[in-house]
Subunit: 320 residues, 2 copies
Amino acid sequence: MSSPASTPPDATISDAGEFGLIAQLEGIFAQGEHVLIGPGDDAAVLRIRNGHVVVSTDLMVESRHFRRDWASAEDVGHRAAAQNLSDVNAMGGRAHSLTIGMAMPPDLPVQWALDFARGFADEAALVGASVVGGDVTRADEVVIAVTVLGACTQTPVVRSGAEPGDVLALHGRQGWAAGGLAVLGRGFRSPRVLVEAYRRPEPPYGAGQVAAEAGATAMIDISDGLVAEAGHLARESGVAIDVRRDAFEVPEPLVAVGAALGADPLGFILGGGDDHALLATFPDRGSVPEGWQVVGEVSEGEGVTVDGAAYEGPTGWTHF
Amino acid sequence: MSSPASTPPDATISDAGEFGLIAQLEGIFAQGEHVLIGPGDDAAVLRIRNGHVVVSTDLMVESRHFRRDWASAEDVGHRAAAQNLSDVNAMGGRAHSLTIGMAMPPDLPVQWALDFARGFADEAALVGASVVGGDVTRADEVVIAVTVLGACTQTPVVRSGAEPGDVLALHGRQGWAAGGLAVLGRGFRSPRVLVEAYRRPEPPYGAGQVAAEAGATAMIDISDGLVAEAGHLARESGVAIDVRRDAFEVPEPLVAVGAALGADPLGFILGGGDDHALLATFPDRGSVPEGWQVVGEVSEGEGVTVDGAAYEGPTGWTHF
């Protein structure tokens, strides 16, 4: 196998070759103690102590989920890991392992792939997760496929457990990434705090586990938009959910962006995704843990309303 | 959610929409008893009985790994599942769960996606594995990302355990898929048995576990070519491997293709992949289980030779 050090700084994926690239990627991924067999064999083997595994797969496609001119490779790596780690967070668990499939055009700089991997590994390290395997191949555009494995310390919290009388609560920044995406879409680079929130979300890792221990009845992570995700909870639980506008304090940077773009800043909060905040239901206000903010309530019926009426704003991604 | 039955037969992915498509896909995937939470939540949850999980991820890209005019969607589904199930087979294990990420152009017929899923589910059913989750999104070309999870009944067999004095053995059809690919590449559709072997490989599921129980010292599945995979075993084990031409009986259809294309038919066997046969080393001939064929030997040194000399033929895929 060629020495990783022999790849020149301006090399492409094609120059490095499959095995040269894999050798360099493997050097980036540290392995936790639970990893019995790490990258490099036909499969990885992980020690599982608690009788179950939580697993989720997500795809990210260039131009659709990220743009190389809007975010650094390292940022895209952070985001790719974050959206998967967040799926385990939303079950009330903690991730321990990840795999990455990277389909890439042959003229992609090796440096992009390595920086992506470093960002990915750094985000995984926030929860102590290891990158245990993956695949690289050629494609016309960059497609990133991530699978996350994790565990819960108690019964996983699903989407279908909300009951009439529950309260709806939110944990984490919400609307910031959507605000950042909106300014990037207009060719701006500020407010910087929002652009950074889009480039590198900060999911509230650990908050899912706290919610589960506090008796959350249903939970979901907000990747596609708050109202849209509340809709998933309502449908899966067979209940109605009302979100209240006055529950949200609109942060100053979103107020500024709303004014600059002529948009209702609350629209970023109600319709935005990508922050990977958590949305959960609890039996009553008294059981809502610290750091969570009550933003609505659950009743008999179906569908989602905002202040009792249908929400007319954008409610999230359409994938086709 | 719209009724699956409402999608007309000529509908595209774009017509069906993300949630319409997911609803139809979920209807195809039966869930095993080990699946505590299946598709439809933030993550799936699986019961793990034996303290470990074997995990591997592979990508398949249209035009590169498959062509829609060379194989039916159902065939591509079988192949996508087979190549991942084979990775667990090569550790001496058995798969129990799979996830699929499907990136697809919006004008792809829904029927293609559903037929793919049916082929995938049918292949998974051969080993009793369930499709427990996944993701769908839009891309310019079809990219399929599969992650497989499984378990071993004994110590997993890695690539690095071959010792000087071991024998090299093969289990399963080898070279058939390469022969099928070669005739398809020339615009032919026969010998049909080879074309079918390319379209729908038949990995020797279960043979990996038998080899592990028989004391296999190293094992790998042949996805990129026999000589190339023997090279991985040699390098990871720090040994030399010699493959012997006279160990192989060239099957009649490969003889016919060799004659028609003016190629050495043994080249398909030594250089071909995609059949997902298993290649393993055993301490001696006496420990090689039934169904395995001794094709070479292991000695001190490095690298792979064929009949004691460097192999000049094609040795497998170059991914970039």
